[in-house]
């Protein structure tokens, strides 16, 4: 367990808010049994760098809402557990949250392996689960609606790559990738996006341990692509880019943000990588919700997971309010009424959302990680992506959209 420090200013603000509330005659103070919410984040293990900040973001929202009177007139109680980035420890911690603490929702599971292990416990006990894991398979679990995720899966990423090529007027798009677990789904979704716009796609899966890829590039060029999507990792992408340059390819080049990074840009001649675009999931930097989160937790540029878990707690508190019930089932039924209600009041934090709900308004929440709209299966329908381009030996931000 971690110890939380509440800084004095928050405490004072909270106390002041409480005092002013109690001064209002006839207004009920938070009372009754508290609503229990759990976080299950990695505080140790591979995800260790992320978990503590994620908990801090959730805690900040809960404190703020409690200071303003809680939800349904009840206090929100936060219980944080460590999944140690391990499915086995994750399951143990989830059991404790569900059976002992009786939380109505668990937020923040990070590793896909942990989420996959914990999800059945949640849907069987009718506990709501919000996760930041990305593996395609997670939302295909028979979760009966008890699961949403704010992290884009490969399906969405593939679509973004395809749509980007089309937007750049490339109709013949070639996907070049080593054998990875997500290569097929990535290509299928690129194809779907490109075909919809009347384009054509081709793909080549290569062996990523070869000193040269001249023949592979020959095969790519026979397709006469307007755009090549480089789906590999840094070392093989560097060689591919070089061989494509040598072969005289001058069309659009698009790659994953993690492959074409500053290191790659520095290790190959400038003209080889110049004008290459990169695409990566991104928090909604520049949005009001993002700025608010930065201020609340005092972290200059919070990582995507922190922005996502911040959105998760906001959504869940609003869902409880609109349902008038704090059970996991109520959250499941109500969460889309606050995340994407047609014509709902646009809000970017739970406080404003709770006010709108109290005024009987539907709510459409856009958060620090993006629009936060969910498909039927619990996937995020759309999210912000960060588009950068190599210009003169530097990665330059093109847009966040």
């Amino acid at each position: 367990m971690t110890a939380f420090t509440t800084d004095r200013r928050t405490l004072l603000a909270g106390a002041a808010a409480l005092a002013s509330l109690s001064a209002l005659p006839g207004r009920a103070l938070a009372q009754g049994a508290p609503i229990k919410i759990g976080t299950l984040t990695p505080l140790t293990g591979a995800g260790g760098p992320y978990g503590p900040v994620m908990v801090k973001a959730v805690k900040a929202v809960v404190d703020e809402v409690n200071a303003a009177g809680g939800v349904l007139g009840r206090k929100v109680e936060l219980i944080s557990e460590d999944d140690q980035t391990s499915p086995e420890a994750g399951v143990r911690a989830a059991r404790k949250l569900i059976d002992v603490d009786k939380v109505s929702a668990i937020l923040g599971t990070w590793s896909s392996a942990v989420t996959t292990a914990v999800a059945p416990l949640c849907w069987e006990s009718k506990t709501f689960l919000a996760t930041v894991s990305g593996a395609d398979s997670i939302t295909q679990l028979p979760h009966q609606g008890y699961l949403i995720r704010t992290q884009p899966n490969t399906t969405l990423q593939g679509r973004k790559f395809g749509e980007f090529c089309i937007a750049e007027k490339a109709k013949r798009v070639f996907f070049l990738s080593p054998q990875t677990p997500f290569a097929k789904s990535q290509f299928d979704n690129i194809t779907e996006a490109v075909k919809k716009a009347g384009g054509e796609t081709g793909s080549l899966i290569y062996d990523d341990k070869k000193p040269a890829y001249r023949s592979e590039i020959d095969e790519v060029l026979r397709f006469k692509p307007d755009a090549i999507i480089f789906g590999g990792y840094t070392p093989d992408t560097a060689v591919m880019l070089k061989d494509a340059y040598r072969a005289g390819y001058g069309g659009l080049k698009v790659a994953f943000g993690y492959a074409v990074n500053q290191k790659l840009v520095e290790s190959v001649p400038a003209e080889v990588v110049d004008k290459t675009f990169t695409i990566a999931p991104s928090p909604a930097e520049g949005s009001k919700a993002y700025a608010r989160l930065v201020k609340m937790i005092g972290v200059a540029s919070p990582d995507p997971y922190t922005t996502q878990v911040y959105d998760q707690i906001n959504l869940i508190l609003m869902a409880i309010a609109i349902a008038g019930d704090s059970s996991g089932t109520a959250i499941k039924d109500a969460v889309r009424k606050v995340s994407q209600a047609q014509g709902g009041a646009k809000v970017d934090n739970a406080l404003d959302g709770l006010k709108a709900i109290a005024a009987k308004q539907p709510v459409d929440y856009d958060g620090a990680s993006g629009p936060c709209d969910f498909t039927e299966t619990g996937d995020i329908a759309d999210c912000q992506f960060r588009y950068e381009q190599v210009q003169g030996g530097k990665l330059t931000l093109v847009k966040i959209a």
Binding site: L204, R214, D218, Y245, A247, S267
Partner: protein, 287 residues
């Protein structure tokens, strides 16, 4: 037709890239009678030594190649003398396994010194020259010429110098060579210096074409081994022939099988060769 020709050209290019380290590997095998898998690390060390000479010291590529040769040669000899030598009496298998361990140690030393990031040589990159439908890279052509020159030098050395003749004598029959007054220990050192040095040069040639990182050598180890087996372990012309055949076979295979299976082609080649001609293409003696 032009597809076939292009694949052939590409095959010769990749083949020569593998040939240089394959010669090093074969030379070590011929004299010391064990497969030295540490050549992967030697290739990486060569690539990094040349990178240091080229980027940090500003030397041109031929000079950087010499630096790589010298540095890797010394590393090869020192590594052998300090670790593998005392295991040689226990049989080839033990030394081979120890050389895998040595490879890991050396690779991680490179990682410790230079870090995990990729690096590239300070070289301008040129577009390919076109001859009708065929395209040939000037840089690859340069690597090809360098590789051919190195092979010729090696051939002349073995054929006409005293040391070369002594090496061949030890390779042929160590006991007889000793009776003739040749010191096998001395020959072993020279062979290792040459073999490791050549492998280092091979690493540079690969790096010139691509980028280098601590796994550069490891990525081509299997191809090099396959080439040497294909040509007949221990035979130097065999290593060259094997490398060329492997390169061409891999590129031609791309016309009919998906690119993912490229490494598989090398394995099938080894399998067929060991089944039907265990001595390899030009091997004199079954290993």
């Amino acid at each position: 037709m032009s597809q076939l020709l292009q694949a052939l050209v590409n095959g010769v290019m990749t083949g020569t890239l593998i040939a240089v380290p394959a010669i090093g590997f074969s030379a070590i095998f011929a004299v010391l009678r064990y497969p030295n898998f540490a050549i992967a690390a030697y290739a990486t060390i060569g690539a990094f030594a040349a990178w240091w000479a080229n980027v940090a010291m500003g030397l041109p590529v031929p000079a950087a190649l010499l630096v790589a040769f010298a540095v890797t040669g010394v590393v090869g000899v020192v590594a052998e003398e300090t670790s593998l030598k005392r295991l040689r009496n226990n049989g080839a298998l033990i030394v081979a396994i120890a050389s895998i361990a040595l490879n890991l140690v050396l690779e991680n030393i490179v990682r410790f010194i230079f870090g995990n990031e990729m690096r590239g040589y300070d070289l301008p990159i040129a577009r390919d020259m076109r001859f009708g439908d065929l395209r040939i890279g000037p840089q690859q052509l340069q690597s090809l010429l360098l590789a051919v020159a190195i092979m010729a030098a090696m051939f002349l050395f073995l054929r006409y110098t005293r040391f070369g003749k002594a090496m061949r004598a030890v390779a042929d029959n160590p006991d007889l060579a000793r009776l003739k007054g040749i010191d096998p220990a001395k020959i072993a050192i020279v062979t290792l210096f040459l073999g490791a040095g050549l492998t280092g040069v091979g690493g540079v040639l690969i790096g010139l074409d691509t980028s280098i990182d601590p796994l550069t050598g490891y990525r081509v180890l299997l191809s090099v081994f396959a080439a040497a087996v294909l040509g007949g372990l221990g035979s130097i012309p065999g290593a060259v022939a094997g490398a060329l055949m492997l390169g061409i076979a891999e590129e031609l295979a791309l016309l009919v099988v998906p690119a993912t299976y490229r490494t598989g082609v090398g394995f099938v080649a080894i399998l067929l060769m060991l089944t039907f001609r265990p001595r390899g293409l030009l091997g004199e003696r079954a290993a």
